[in-house]
């Protein structure tokens, strides 16, 4: 199909507009689509970072990074990471954090943001041996507890007792 605007190039963009319940379909080529303001396909247009920054800024009730800022917004945004000096406004613009401490410095907001992005804010996957020693053990204890309860339910008390001792041992290990 040819582009409806220029009638020269192949139409590659298919746009469906619904205004007042009336459906209108438009077929455009790349070039004409780029010129259409409503599509905003330009270089500065739609990108992953825009999406992310949109998420970040919607927290403050403003739609775009350029919206007029109220005082409250400014105050919140001036928060800085003590470790690397990144402020939250800069993060909102780039979508990139400055160091691992930023996750702690901006805890409240990062927490909400992660929930928005992943629909979840609790890691359940791999734990590194070095930096996650205690965490690893805690996870192991958790797993053993589940197994123990399972054993109790099945009335395998001998097995449950074994698991109980293993849990105790691990717990002592953490306390040391």
């Amino acid at each position: 199909m040819l582009c409806q605007e220029c009638q020269k190039r192949e139409a590659t963009v298919h746009l469906t507009k619904i205004i007042n319940n009336k459906k209108k379909e438009i077929y455009l080529c790349d070039k004409c689509a780029q010129n259409k303001e409503e599509l905003n396909f330009g270089k500065e247009g739609f990108s992953f970072n825009n999406l992310l920054t949109g998420l970040l800024n919607s927290e403050f009730g403003t739609d775009t990074p350029n919206s007029s800022l109220n005082l409250n917004y400014n105050k919140k945004v001036e928060e800085e990471c003590e470790n690397c000096g990144l402020n939250y406004a800069e993060f909102s613009r780039q979508g990139k954090l400055g160091c691992s401490e930023c996750y702690i410095e901006f805890e409240n907001r990062i927490n909400k943001l992660l929930k928005k992005i992943h629909g979840n804010n609790r890691h359940t996957g791999k734990v590194p041996k070095r930096t996650g020693g205690v965490i690893r053990t805690r996870k192991e204890i958790q797993q053993l507890r589940e197994k123990m309860q399972d054993a109790v339910q099945k009335e395998e008390f001998e097995e449950a007792a074994k698991l109980r001792d293993a849990i105790k041992e691990l717990e002592e290990e953490i306390d040391e």
Binding site: L52, L97, S100, I110, I117, N121, G125
Partner: protein, 351 residues
Amino acid sequence: MSITGKINNTLNKWMKASGPDPDVVISSRIRLARNLMEVPFPNYASDKEAKRVIDKVESLLEEEDNDFGLKLLDLEKIPVLEKEVMVEKHLISPEHAEPGQHKAMLLTDDESVSIMINEEDHIRSQILFSGLQLEEAWELGDQVDDYLESKLNFAFSEEYGYLTTCPTNAGTGMRASVMVHLPALNLSNQINDVLRAISQLGLAVRGLYGEGTEALGNIYQISNQVTLGPSEEEIIENLQGVIKQIINQERNARKRLMKQNKVELTDRIYRSYGVLKYSRKISSKEAMKLLSDVKLGVDLGIINDVSASIFNELMVLISPPALQRLTGKDLNSSQRDEKRANLIRKRIREK
């Protein structure tokens, strides 16, 4: 080096189409993002700090034997063209190929493991396998990760898992992706429905060269979107399940086409084959389109005198940087189109 030597030098495992389900799945990839606890993320690190990351990795290689055969490469010292070929082979990202200080990588001889240092994160390990081998790739990725972690302190929090520069990668830091060839779904106009369903399942679909690129040669990359919450195994299971369904749908679409439009399909495949066999000039876009038809022809048993891996190979070999590297000199686009046609003719005849 002879031209064949150079070509072989350019090929790696995933291009040889030796993995499972090669008729639909081209490659499987696992990427793990990691950062060092004590250094700011690359975008915020000073020169000195960025160098420290490389130094730490270097001393790890010196102190701990690695069975993987990882070797450290300083990307500043590698010629531009060479780096572009690495991008075509999906060993490094386009950003990492751009000039800049303290960019490095670790690479194995067979190129199945490549680790970018100081890209968006300090360390990004990538495992690239041929065909559908996500579980195998994760197994190796896990081992490589354990090796790196034996000396390096990775930034990790109990709640958020591995801490990454961009919060979209936090948690497992894992992106699992599969590259699939879906010509029949495209020919039978089902592709958009399939792609829509995939994105509703929390997976991302992209063209051949990543975000925002078009699906040249009917090739799509499908990957997990969510990295925090599910475990690595759950992410892989989910992706694997979806891919298996896509494989079935593509195979069914092929069968249907063969049943209902056999003459049209066979005609299309042979025409494409004919053009590739005899053309004297060809653009990379046209070549990708025709190669997709020929691969379909090989996989359906219509074409028997070309090897199945030719598509995967040529996909990389006919890209402008690879052509440039093969001929060893700068070419304009018209010269490239000529060289490309020559290379394809030669390669197809060689079997």
